[in-house]
């Protein structure tokens, strides 16, 4: 056996610097180590056809044979520029080829290839005929992909002894072998090394080029797929912008929707699709900012086409993230939502029209019902008043039942109208400062007659010194009457209905009112339904099923419009309690708008109390709303404040104005009041109290709170004094 000579080119294969330079020749190719090549990609990288021209050229130039192998050293394709002596020897090996096309004998795989791949450096081997070959590793990062072998040349003058042995081994003519060998000029070892180095550089460069080509094909394919996807979308405008909002890509949908061909819009800022108003408000920048911050932003609004026509667009902007903290631009998806918006508007218009028609109809019906109802009412009350003579007790009883039903009908007619107003959003509440205990007392008086019919006792239970509520008195009355009437309806004879009022424990900004009956109760599963429109719980007995079931629905609306809430607690067989809450009147809240540092710079506040002599309702010019309007005209809005009515509806003669003014400012207001308010039969008494704000070193809130409390006390004192005077 001919010993195989294995050497590296420089004999220093442990130099890590060199190894590094080979394993990562381009620097930065290390990243490839993370990539796993598929079988297809590997065969593409070592595509024989692609390598052929390069190898052929190299072989011809360097006058060596050259060939591509896989990592096993197995020939891929053919040997380029084979040397005559090698071809001659090789021809005897038909049927017993070794793995390496250059090694004329086993062992396989080729030691040079193995060495080269292991060390990532060129490696030289010599075969049994004395022919040398150099193997070049082909790698990308850590991936060993294959090798190139070049050689079939003598690196020294051929030894006759070696040639003879080879001739014997291969069974060829020794003379012929010698003749062929002597024609082949030997290449010096250093020349072979240089040839190897050159091949190594070429090979690495070429494989990176191959790799680049593969990547490009893939990217192109992806690009094409993406483009096909984006282009196929015609209902949406899809475009990208750079980080400043300049358009960087533009699909067909965008062209259709906005009218710009791609060539005209690329590089333009996307704000040209916004209305001038939006641009002035900085909407484009705000949206990009939002998208960057939130990772996505959605907007609906008017956008401009190229021809300056508008359409209603739904727009989603997403940042195109590159690194964690920076991004290279935005993707914008835009949809024309004009039709959808118009449909929604039209639907709403139709709904409103329908509701208005319904309200008109109900208003008409209720109007038409009221007149005959009044006739019936007059006849029944006439009979009960004895207009047609004395009545027997049974006749009286019958008439009282009739009257009861007429009253119910009347309530239903009112309810119908309220419900249609709720639906057309026309039901309004006008809050004022009102006393809850006096309301409860008044409502109980109203409901007493009804309660007596079933011998039900009505009990009021309110906390002493309750603060005033901020609510619409008439609407509160309506809710309370409704709850009590319901209670009476569902409570058996001889029961009790208790009305309570107090500060709401869960929120001290609210008062609560509750109506508790000793009736049949409501099943827990029905609790949420009782406030629904037309809800009437099924378990109720026929006899107690009266009315349209609209009362609680209306109550809920009225209470929520005033900022409160309504709910029920109940036990079947033991009775129910309906609760509702209303805001507490707060002078501080009302005064908040005018008590600003600028307004109070002078350090004083003035309270004006205006007592108008008892109003005679037969003189319409003196109705309280009229007087309020006059007062409103006399004050400086934003600096002075006319307090809401502080007393109950039938005691309207005291008005309060809080003015951010000193005594002289208050005198000026008084002069105006006298000019506009006083008339021969109306002489208003005006009282002025000026309050000084406390010293400057106290926190502003405390100073405000202090002066507000003082005003509150003055108002209450004044009201009490008026009450006593009466």
């Amino acid at each position: 056996m001919i010993p195989q000579e294995k050497r590296t080119l420089d004999g220093n294969r442990h130099d890590p610097r060199i190894e590094e330079s080979y394993s990562d020749p381009a620097g930065g190719m290390n990243r490839i180590a993370k990539v796993d090549f598929s079988r297809e990609e590997r065969s593409e990288l070592l595509n024989v056809k692609a390598w052929s021209p390069m190898l052929e050229t190299y072989g011809l130039t360097m006058k060596v044979a050259v060939a591509l192998t896989d990592v096993q050293g197995t020939l891929l394709g053919k040997v380029h520029c084979p040397q005559p002596i090698w071809t001659f020897v090789r021809s005897t090996l038909v049927g017993k080829e070794t793995g390496c096309p250059f090694c004329l004998s086993p062992p396989s795989p080729c030691a040079a290839v193995m060495n080269a791949l292991r060390t990532a450096m060129p490696a030289i081997a010599r075969d049994r005929a004395g022919l040398a070959h150099v193997a070049i590793p082909l790698s990308l990062g850590k991936h060993r992909l294959g090798a190139i072998i070049a050689g079939q040349v003598f690196d020294q003058y051929p030894e006759s002894l070696l040639l003879e042995r080879a001739a014997k081994t291969f069974g060829v003519s020794a003379q012929l072998l010698w003749r062929l060998a002597s024609k082949q000029r030997p290449i010096s070892r250093s020349a072979l090394q240089q040839a190897g180095d050159l091949l190594c550089a070429l090979g690495q460069a070429f494989i990176r080029q191959r790799y680049g080509a593969i990547l490009e094909t893939q990217m192109a394919r992806t690009n094409l797929r993406f483009r096909l996807l984006v282009e196929g979308v015609t209902d949406y405008a899809l475009f990208t912008t750079d980080h400043l909002g300049r358009v960087t890509s533009w699909n067909v949908g965008a062209e259709r929707m906005l009218g710009y061909p791609e060539a005209d819009i690329l590089g333009q800022h996307f704000s040209r699709m916004f209305t001038s108003e939006d641009i002035q408000n900085g909407a484009p920048e705000k949206q990009l900012g939002n998208a960057s911050r939130e990772g996505r932003t959605e907007d609906e609004g008017w956008r401009l086409r190229r021809n300056q026509t508008q359409f209603w667009a739904n727009v989603i902007i997403t940042p195109l993230a590159e690194e964690a903290n920076s991004h290279r631009g935005f993707a914008v998806v835009m949809q024309n939502a004009t039709d959808r918006r118009e449909a929604a508007i039209e639907l709403e218009t139709v709904r409103q029209e329908r509701m208005n028609l319904q309200e008109q109809f109900l208003s008409h019906v209720s109007h038409e019902l009221r007149t005959p109802l009044t006739a019936i009412y007059f006849f029944i009350t006439n009979l009960l008043e004895g207009v047609a003579g004395d009545l027997t007790s049974s006749q009286r009883e019958n008439l009282e039942f009739s009257l009861e039903n007429v009253k119910q009908l009347k309530d239903m007619v009112s309810d119908l109208l309220d419900v249609s107003r709720i639906e057309t959003l026309k039901l309004t509440v006008e809050p004022q400062c009102m006393s809850v205990p006096s309301l409860i007392a008044e409502v109980l008086r109203t409901c007493l007659a009804n309660a007596r019919l079933k011998n039900i006792s009505l009990v009021a239970d309110t906390t002493e010194g309750l603060p005033s509520a901020w609510a619409d008195r008439a609407r509160m009355r309506q809710v309370l009457v409704n709850l009590i009437d319901n209670g009476i309806r569902f409570t058996p004879d001889n029961g009790t209905i208790t009305v309570q009022g107090g500060v709401f424990a869960e929120d001290s900004g609210f008062l609560y009112l509750s109506v508790t009956d000793t009736g049949c109760g409501i099943r827990p599963e029905d609790h949420p339904m009782v406030f629904d429109r037309l809800a009437q719980v099924k378990t109720l007995t026929e006899s107690s099923r009266k009315g349209l079931g609209l009362g609680l629905f209306i109550s809920k609306e009225l209470i929520s419009q005033q900022g409160g809430r309504i709910w029920v607690e109940s036990q079947v067989g033991r009775g129910s309690t309906f609760y509702f809450t209303v805001p507490i009147f707060s002078l501080a809240k009302v005064c908040g708008s005018i008590f600003t540092p600028a307004n109070l710079a002078a350090g004083c506040v003035t309270l004006l109390s205006i007592d108008v002599p008892t109003i005679d309702s037969s003189i319409p010019a003196q109705d309280p709303t009229g007087i309020r309007k006059v007062l409103e005209r006399c004050i400086l809005h934003g600096q002075d404040l006319l307090l809401p009515p502080m007393t109950d509806a039938d005691m309207i003669e005291t008005f309060f104005i809080i003015a951010c003014a000193d005594r002289f400012g208050a005198e000026a207001i008084t002069k105006r009041l006298r000019r506009d308010l006083d008339s021969p039969n109306l002489k208003a008494a005006i009282f002025i109290t000026t309050l000084q704000l406390s010293v400057n070193d106290q926190p502003w809130e405390e100073r405000i709170a202090e002066v507000t409390t003082q005003i509150d006390k003055l108002v209450q004192k004044h009201l009490v004094e008026r009450e006593i005077l009466k």
């Binding site: 009221r370 007149t371 109802l373 009044t374 007059f378 006849f379 009350t381 006439n382």
Partner: protein, 133 residues
């Protein structure tokens, strides 16, 4: 005591009958009219002490009737109580501004209505009257 005369203007004849019976039982003389034109004519002829006026009338709105009555020297001071099916929220202030002394939505509470009539006629509302009704 002179019997006071009340004019009821309403296009519903049953309502006229019922209300007339009630007022007569309370000691008033009653005349009636069923439309806007008749209302002014009857008022001029009869010169009532009080007018109970509906707003939705044939041949003209009740508020117009009120205006025309206010222009007549004989009737300028005659108190008018409006009794209408219309919503007080929209109509009470308008009626009061036009010169009515009170506004009642149909159906009115019988007692309150009679009390308003007596007050408008300048009668002392006696406790005994309340007790009787």
């Amino acid at each position: 005591m002179i019997t006071k005369k009340i004019l009821i203007v309403d296009d519903d004849e049953y309502l006229l009958l019922g209300l007339a019976a009630k007022l007569k039982a309370s000691g008033y003389a009653v005349v009636s009219a069923v439309d806007a034109v008749a209302a002014v004519a009857v008022a001029r002829r009869e010169v009532p002490d009080l007018i109970i006026l509906d707003l939705g009338l044939p041949a003209g709105d009740g508020l117009l009737v009120l205006e025309r009555l206010r222009a007549l020297t004989d009737l300028v001071a005659t108190p008018v109580i409006v009794l209408s099916a219309r919503d007080p929220a929209n109509n009470e202030q308008r009626a009061l501004k036009a010169g009515a002394v009170a506004f009642f939505q149909k159906p009115p509470d019988s007692r309150e209505f009679l009390t308003a009539i007596r007050r408008a006629l300048g009668e002392e509302v006696a406790l005994s009257q309340f007790l009787r009704t």
